[in-house]
């Protein structure tokens, strides 16, 4: 039997007292699509950084095609034949595709263009080499990243949560590309926490929990529940039962809102119409970049309309189009934005000080002065009730993991007891346990009579918690669909704009 492409034995890495990786064993065969499965914080990213030479291990050994190696930089890893596509793309938006690639790959521009076209045809990664990156969709940008890796003829390609940014149709296409790569002899390490995807494409899966391997299996032989149990070490809590309820008064209404954002790269919105009642959850589905960010700012009050258009946004019985974010919050509105660091929280400030950001309304001020005791109390309750894992309230928000910070922000907003709660991308980059907890909280808010608006890319999530769904595509909002009456494919059709004229 030939030596495996990559074999790892007893690899460990600690940061201070945190054991990010504990004695990891991993074997990747030639021509295999191998999944690394785990919750956020399970050590997936650390393991990839060790393989790709971004970090160096404390102990353990790596063999590459039978030879022991110790890559200490990405350049060395690339020389061995390891390529990596990061979750967050590293492309310059103002440059063209070929200019971006030329920054890393030597060669004349014309020759590079020809190779980009060749690779595109061969692997289904078509993209215009002369296009500027800012004009490309997320899917196309990812293709550029993959092409850039393929330029160096890798034997192993690492993809960090590649599907988290893609619409369902693009996922299918990406999978075709990955299968074709495998057939040409490129092995793939596929990092994900989406169980269904892994079962669809991978032939091996290594499951991590708390920095250690809990199993290496063929994912096609196990169903999602079994994999989930290995991943989170307990049975997944069942989704909350849908409770019968009757919607109350209208809490938010947009009636044919048009908006052209100041940002020239922003997505203009056209005839946006929605109506949300107290006691229900309305989901906005669709791929990011179709107007989600613009719509969120109009609802939150971070972008306001001129006085004469105030009535185009009705919130809790008032025309609020010209009111700012603070005035809307005073009416009983709360909001969790999609960017946590720098928008939903100030990274350099402690959790306690971040509580104050919007929580000051909950009686944390006395005559313009901060009541530190009440601030500490509010923060402590938020950390406890929403299971925020942190050394303490004095920890800076920037030091928390994405999922924990999200729990903190969601907690801070829910504790304000809003009548209208708006959450954008509630579980982006959040592990399954935390995501389930957040979803249950949103449902509990609805059951308590609040109106909840959710923007999400994850269709399964919307189907799990929403009463109704509308789809945002190219700045237009589809008609409302009642979740009980539709299937995922109906939403998918709206997401790619395949229902023009057919909507009713």
């Amino acid at each position: 039997m030939p030596a495996p492409l990559l074999a790892i034995r007893g690899l460990s890495k600690s940061y201070g007292r945190v054991h990010a990786n504990r004695s990891i064993d991993l074997t990747v065969e030639e021509g295999s699509i191998h999944a690394i499965l785990g919750e956020n914080g399970a050590g997936k990213s650390t393991l990839m950084k060790l393989i790709y030479g971004v970090e160096t291990p404390d102990a353990g050994q790596v063999t590459w095609r039978g030879d022991p190696v110790r890559p200490t930089s990405p350049a060395e890893a690339r020389k061995l034949g390891i390529g990596m596509v990061f979750q967050h793309f590293s492309l310059f938006e103002t440059l063209t595709v070929v200019e971006n690639i030329a920054l890393i790959v030597p060669g004349r521009s014309a020759a590079l263009v020809a190779r980009i076209r060749d690779l595109g045809r061969e692997y289904g990664l078509e993209v215009d080499p002369r296009a500027h990156v800012h004009s490309l969709s997320v899917g196309e940008r990812q293709r550029v990243e993959i092409i850039r890796c393929l330029m160096t003829d890798p034997r192993l390609l690492i993809l960090d949560e590649p599907t988290s940014v893609l619409p369902p149709q693009s996922v299918t296409r990406l999978f075709q590309t990955l299968r074709r790569l495998r057939d040409r002899g490129v092995s793939i390490l596929f990092i994900s926490h989406k169980l269904e995807e892994i079962r669809a494409i991978c032939d091996r899966a290594t499951i991590l929990r708390d920095g250690a391997v809990t199993g290496t299996v063929d994912p096609r032989d196990h169903d999602a529940t079994e994999l989930a149990t290995m991943m989170i070490g307990r049975d997944m809590p069942p989704p909350p039962p849908a409770k019968a309820h009757k919607p109350g008064k209208v809490a938010l209404e947009l009636a044919g809102l048009d908006h052209v954002p100041d940002d020239p790269f922003g997505q203009p919105l056209s005839r946006i119409a929605l109506r949300l009642h107290e006691g229900e959850i309305l989901g906005i589905a669709g791929v990011s970049g179709n107007g989600q960010a613009e719509l969120a700012r109009l609802v939150s009050g971070e972008v306001t309309l001129p006085d004469h258009r105030a009535a185009e946004v009705l919130m809790l019985g008032q025309a609020v189009g010209d009111l700012g974010a603070a005035a809307r919050r005073d009416l009983g509105f709360a909001f969790v934005p999609e960017e946590r660091l720098g928008r939903g929280a100030v990274p350099e400030m402690s959790l306690a000080d971040n509580t104050l950001l919007t929580g000051h309304r909950a009686g944390l001020l006395r005559r313009g002065l901060i009541d530190r005791a009440r601030e500490a109390d509010y923060t402590a309750r938020c950390i406890r009730d929403f299971d925020v894992r942190t050394p303490g309230p004095r920890t800076e928000a920037g030091a928390l993991s994405g999922g924990n910070l999200q729990k903190f922000i969601v907690g801070r907003e829910i504790m304000l007891q809003p009548r209208l709660l708006f959450v954008s991308q509630p579980t982006w980059g959040v592990d399954i346990g935390a995501a389930t907890a957040i979803r249950r909280r949103l449902v509990a808010m609805r059951d308590a009579g609040a109106a909840v608006l959710v923007i999400s890319e994850e269709i399964e999530e919307l189907f799990e918690i929403c009463d109704r769904i509308q789809v945002l595509n190219a700045g237009r909002l589809s008609p409302s669909m009642t979740v009980r009456d539709i299937r995922v494919e109906d939403v998918g059709r709206h997401m790619i704009g395949a229902t023009e004229g057919g909507a009713s």
């Binding site: 160096t56 720098g342 928008r343 100030v346 313009g368 901060i370 920890t395």
Partner: protein, 360 residues
């Protein structure tokens, strides 16, 4: 970021211990650098060191001069720091200082025979108003037209200097002053009461210290101070929470202008005793260094203003006793700031040795 075999990693929280150690380390490092420079220039480093840093604090008479110099720096820097934390960069304190001086001088210039205990407090108040008025212009331009307050405040300083010149060679020139560009000498009631007899230290030092306490309270306890800091650290978060950016700009510039105006008034009504060109001696610019050296923190600024004042007085000493050029003081101030900015990186980050990182 990597440095040789080391890597910078973000701390969970800023280290309080290092927040105190870093400025001291920066001071020691810049002293070492500058002494090396003096040696290279052929001066006796021990003599220079003694003249610059020891002499100013060893006798009461020279230390009282340090306190006098420290007063305007402290007043202005505390005001500027509020704006700097909100990322509203007012570098025109010099102009606001001059306007404060001009406004305060209006009373003794127009009423040279004035008497009464109300005179000097009114002059101080007028000075604060003058400084604020001068800061209104950049505030309006920034809020309405989105013009950079950095440029506008700086240009307003140049205008203020010309306004001062115009008054001193024209309408406000002392008719009995042998044509020197100076105002009348202020009457006794138009000068600040002394704090310590036998020195020139006046009540302005007390005002500056009280002002420091107010500023400390402002950032520690007031919600408004908190909002300004949020706006500086994360403008998107301030927008998300609905904090008004225009308000932050107005508050920052007005407070900065008020503080600089107070300092300008205290200068003409204090050690100078008349309006003259030399009052514009760069306190407004040095206060920027003072604010950053003090970590934009009210307590730190008390120490940094004292340090920079010592350097001023010590630099004068060194010029006389060690033959050092005046530029040497500026080099010292500059190197101090550079060392400090490098050192504070370690307050928020720590160096980690990379086990495999020791490579060529």
């Amino acid at each position: 970021m990597r440095l040789g075999g080391f890597r910078l990693a973000r701390r969970d929280r800023a280290s309080r211990k290092l927040a105190v150690v870093a400025p001291i380390a920066a001071l020691l490092l810049s002293i070492a650098l500058n002494l090396a420079l003096y040696v290279a220039m052929g001066r006796n480093p021990v003599a220079v060191f003694h003249a610059m840093l020891i002499e100013p604090v060893t006798s009461w008479s020279s230390f009282s001069e340090v306190l006098l110099k420290m007063t305007p720096l402290l007043l202005i820097a505390q005001g500027l720091a509020i704006g700097f934390r909100a990322k509203v960069i007012n570098i025109g304190a010099e102009g606001q200082f001059i306007l404060g001086a001009i406004f305060a001088s209006a009373i003794p210039v127009w009423f040279p025979q004035v008497t009464g205990a109300w005179v000097w407090p009114s002059m101080i108040a007028l000075g604060g108003i003058g400084g604020m008025l001068w800061a209104i212009v950049p505030a309006i331009w920034r809020v309405r037209l989105n013009a950079s307050e950095i440029l506008v405040t700086l240009m307003m300083s140049l205008i203020a200097a010309q306004l001062l010149n115009f008054l001193l060679v024209g309408p406000w020139k002392d008719p009995m002053g042998f044509n020197f560009p100076q105002s009348v000498i202020f009457p006794l009631d138009a000068t600040l009461p002394l704090l310590f007899p036998g020195t020139r230290v006046n009540v302005a030092l007390a005002i500056a210290l009280i002002w420091s306490v107010v500023c400390w309270f402002h950032i520690q306890r007031s919600f408004q101070g908190y909002q300004l800091i949020v706006g500086g650290l994360a403008p998107q978060a301030a927008g998300y929470a609905g904090y008004s950016q225009s308000r932050a700009i107005w508050m920052s510039l007005l407070i900065g202008g008020l503080a600089a105006g107070l300092a300008g008034a205290a200068e003409v009504a204090g050690p100078v005793g008349q309006l003259q060109r030399s009052i514009a001696s760069g306190y407004g610019y040095s206060a920027i260094i003072v604010a950053y050296l003090g970590g934009l923190h009210p307590v730190g600024i008390v120490f940094s203003s004292l340090l920079i004042a010592i350097l001023y007085i010590g630099g004068d000493n060194a010029m006389v006793s060690a033959g050092l050029p005046i530029a040497a003081v500026r080099v010292f101030q500059g190197s101090l700031l550079v060392c400090y900015l490098a050192a504070i990186t370690l307050v928020r980050f720590r160096l980690i040795r990379e086990p495999g990182g020791l490579r060529a």
